[in-house]
Structures are given as structure tokens and as C-alpha cells.
Symmetry: C2
Subunit: 280 residues, 2 copies
């Protein structure tokens, strides 16, 4: 079904096909206005990890934003991953508002699932850690109705990551209007300082990360509103998301955090999260 050069697959309207052959209606408001949501789920040997947590977040965001509840996602994921085989990668779920319905017609929301190869990390990212930049844009904060939702209106985050990459950074960290640490463009942030583990509170309007919740279930952490200095003065820090789990964060905007190398808390949590992912 797919050329060796491009093994990406797409589930759309009940069919599984190579991603390069898959298309969505121009009229879909997901395309025209970014009116849609997505989840990126880690796939290990063909199995979608923490899928129920992702689906719960997707359903919550859809309800919050007035989108139709995504239906049939589990079945679509099963069909897609069956074709994908026992491989590692990423399951991306995209649920859209669909085209504007004609007056009196019901909503026809869109659903597309992608199976993608794993995204390569920088060399020695797990052993030595990654560096982050500070995003130019302020974090939109909790007043935005989109706060905490992973929407298709992702341009600002994509741009922040691209600009960070141009400086050799893996991630861009957004700060709130008062300079408080909010979140990475595609990750949550943790740090350890004086025996405390800290992470920005959901009340700031950040994405309630699936890996963030997994870390909080393993280790007590103080959730709050912390200035950037608190993070910069930490002994160690790490980023989390569903795809990478726990990734050491060793420098921000050219300033080393702690010894500039993964610390013991980071290493322990990375190992525990990775062990959980290995459980069938």
C-alpha cells in the first residue's frame, strides 16, 4: 500500500491509504479557519499508548469549543494501526468542524487519522538533554477560549519551533503576560529546585499534557505560577510530551540549567515513564 520511501498512512472516510493520496475538502472549516483539534499519540510496536487519555482530552476540548463530539475514533485507529503493523511511530488524530452546513442541515464534522514514523530527536537528546529557546510571542493565557486545547490553529507554535530550530534549539518555551513560565510549543515543563519538583499550573491556560499527568502520578510536584528565573535557577529540568515521554532540558536561551546535564530526578522519571510504555 505504501512505497518504502514514504510509509505514512492515512485513515479517511473508512479507507486506509498512503498519506500522499489523502485529501480533505477545501470547504472544511478545519482547513479554512483552523477549526479543529488534534492529538498525537505514541505508537509502540503497533499499539497506541494512553489512547483513552488522548480521546478523553479530545472529547473535552470538542465540548468546550462547540465542536461535534468526535465519533468512531477508536475503530479508525484500530483499522489504521492494523495496516501500520507492529511498528513504532505516531498516531495523529485530527477532528475538524467540517464544512459549514447548509441552513437546517446537521454538522458534518471531519475525522482524519495519520500513522507517521517516529520523529527523530537530536543526537544524544536522551543522554545529554536538549536546549530550548524562549518564544517571541506571549502565551495566550487562560482567558482565551482555546486555552489548553490542541487546535489546528497551530501556526504560532509551529513558527516558534521553527525559529527555535534555526537557533539550534529543540523547543520554544512560552512565557505568560507576567513573564511566568507557561509551556513549550509542544511540551510541558518541569524542574527540580531545593528538593521540590515544580511545573506550571493548568490554570495558566496550558495544555494538560498526557505525559505531564503521568509524571504527576509518579512524583509529587508543586503546580504554580513561577517566574522564568525559578526555572533558570533550577538544579535540573525536563520537558514532557506523549511522544518523547521525559526529555532532559539542559539549557534555555544559552543559559545552562544546573550542571547542564540530565539530573537524577529527570533520569529516574524518564526511566519510569519509558518502563510504563513498555507494558503491553
Amino acid at each position: 500500500v505504501s512505497a518504502p520511501a514514504d510509509q505514512r498512512l492515512c485513515w479517511i472516510r473508512g479507507a486506509v491509504l498512503p498519506l500522499v493520496e489523502a485529501a480533505v475538502p477545501v470547504a472544511d472549516r478545519g482547513f479554512l479557519f483552523g477549526e479543529g483539534l488534534f492529538e498525537t499519540v505514541r505508537v509502540a510496536r503497533g499499539r497506541a499508548l494512553r489512547l483513552e487519555a488522548h480521546l478523553a482530552r479530545l472529547a473535552r476540548s470538542a465540548a468546550d469549543l462547540g465542536l461535534a463530539p468526535p465519533r468512531g475514533v477508536r475503530e479508525a485507529a484500530r483499522a489504521l494501526l492494523e495496516r501500520w503493523g507492529a511498528r513504532d511511530g505516531v498516531l495523529k488524530i485530527v477532528a475538524t468542524a467540517g464544512p459549514e452546513p447548509a441552513p437546517g442541515e446537521p454538522d458534518a464534522p471531519g475525522l482524519v487519522l495519520l500513522a507517521l514514523p517516529p520523529r527523530p530527536l537530536p543526537a544524544r537528546a536522551r543522554e545529554d538533554g536538549v536546549v530550548a529557546a524562549i518564544a517571541a510571542a506571549p502565551h495566550p493565557g487562560a482567558r482565551s477560549p482555546l486555552a489548553g486545547a490542541k487546535t489546528l490553529a497551530y501556526f504560532e507554535r509551529a513558527l516558534a519551533r521553527r525559529r527555535a530550530a534555526a537557533e539550534g534549539a529543540w523547543e520554544a518555551i512560552f512565557l505568560g503576560a507576567a513573564g511566568e513560565v507557561a509551556e513549550g510549543a509542544a511540551s510541558n515543563v518541569f524542574w527540580a529546585r531545593g528538593g521540590r519538583l515544580c511545573t506550571p499550573a493548568l490554570e495558566i491556560g496550558i495544555v494538560p499534557g498526557i505525559a505531564r499527568a503521568a509524571v504527576l502520578a509518579l512524583a509529587a510536584a508543586e503546580e504554580g505560577r513561577f517566574p522564568l528565573e525559578d526555572l533558570l535557577g533550577a538544579e535540573e529540568a525536563f520537558l514532557t510530551n506523549a511522544l518523547v515521554g521525559v526529555l532532559p532540558l539542559c539549557a534555555i536561551a544559552g543559559r545552562a540549567i544546573g550542571a547542564g546535564a540530565p539530573g537524577p530526578t529527570t533520569r529516574a522519571l524518564a526511566a519510569r515513564l519509558e518502563a510504563e510504555a513498555d507494558v503491553p
Copy 2:
């Protein structure tokens, strides 16, 4: 080419077809991440008004945001509007980042043009004016790299307009972090007070509206950073965009502006902008 019930047309990859048959690649980053730009151009009797100003803004935003310069838009517009006929409506231009290129491959940006019927205004909107709500989200402001660009990451604005419509309002007005008037979700704002015409300055990070510029070419206005109270205490106010021209704004969040009816400055500017649109 199109059923009477749905006369919307789409130009895509050199072909003109009914919008309901047009599709874009799932892999286009315009769809997956909102990485794209759009322009909505008024069409009068088959003619795209102020097209060059729209194309100039599109090119500027693309350069600012690291997107490939959109090419062939004039030719596509010509082909599409030829099929559209001597009708009134909307030309929507959508330029996207395209799919992520394979390593070493060049960018393959996407271009789609839509010809759409005119959007209906509320009854007597031109005679009696429209009302606006205040958006819940703060305006992102000038620090955002997306400031002033009309991007496909439009969910927050679409949601603000939908929520405004649910309250009977035509538009949602965003305020900046300090409470200053920024812009409508899809319009710029002007008001007259004590003989002065006022409008928020571009430095706030607002969209440099094509109709806004046309108004400024006709009437001297003070561009600045004004608190909401300044607008609420105005004698008259109006909204501008390329599709509606000048539209009287008579109340905001339940508070009448001035006499709650279109004022003389608004009426004069609306007539002059409309007269310009009539020139072939």
C-alpha cells in the same frame, strides 16, 4: 459546472470546479497546523476590488512568516472569476505552506481560490447599524509573530464571532492586554468623538485592513492606543472590512454608541467607499 443550490467555485491546481468537489492534501501544513494565509476580496459584477492591495498584503505576510511567496494568484483569480461570471460575491485566496518537503526537496506551497456568494448582513445593517460584543480572549498584540497577518490559524476569531452571533452581535471586538481597543475579529474599528476620527494604531498588532487604509485615505484620523471607554463614549462608530466597506456600529455589549444610529461621518464615508467600489 455547479448546481443552482451551491454555486460556490474553487480554483485548485489549474482547474476550476464546484467547491464541494475540491480537496487539499491532508499533509498540507495549512491543514495540519494552520500554516497558511488568506485574503477575502470583494467581487462586484465579476471584478475583484482592490486586488493589488490584497496581493501586496499577502506577499508581505508570507515574507514575514517564512512562507514561500504565493505565485500565480492573479492568473488563478482571472480564471476563476471568468467562470464565476459578472456576479457579486467574495474571492477568497488561500496560500498554504504545503506538505513538509522531504529532506533536500524544495517547498511545494499550496494555493486555493474560492468564489463565494456575498455573505448576508443582518437586516437593515447598513441603515440602522450592527452591534458588537467584546471577545473573551485578549488580543495577542504586537509581540506575536503572527500579529497583523490573516492566517489559517483563525479558530479563536471564528469562535469569537460565533459566540457574538449567539448573543445577537455581528462582530466581536478584541481588547489588548491593557484594555485598549484592538480590532474586530474580521474588521477594523473607527469612531468619531469631539470632531476627531479615531482608530487603533497598527503598532497594536492589528490587521492592516484594506478598507481601513481606504478610509484613512479619505479622512484624517488619529491612530493610537485608546481605552474601550473612548469608543463607548464616542458620538458615532463604524467597522470596516474589504467585504462590507463601512458598516455603522451602534452598540457594544448592550451599550449604545452616541444616538445608537449611524452618524453623519459614518454615512458619508460609507457612501464614498461604496462609490469607489462602483468605479470599473
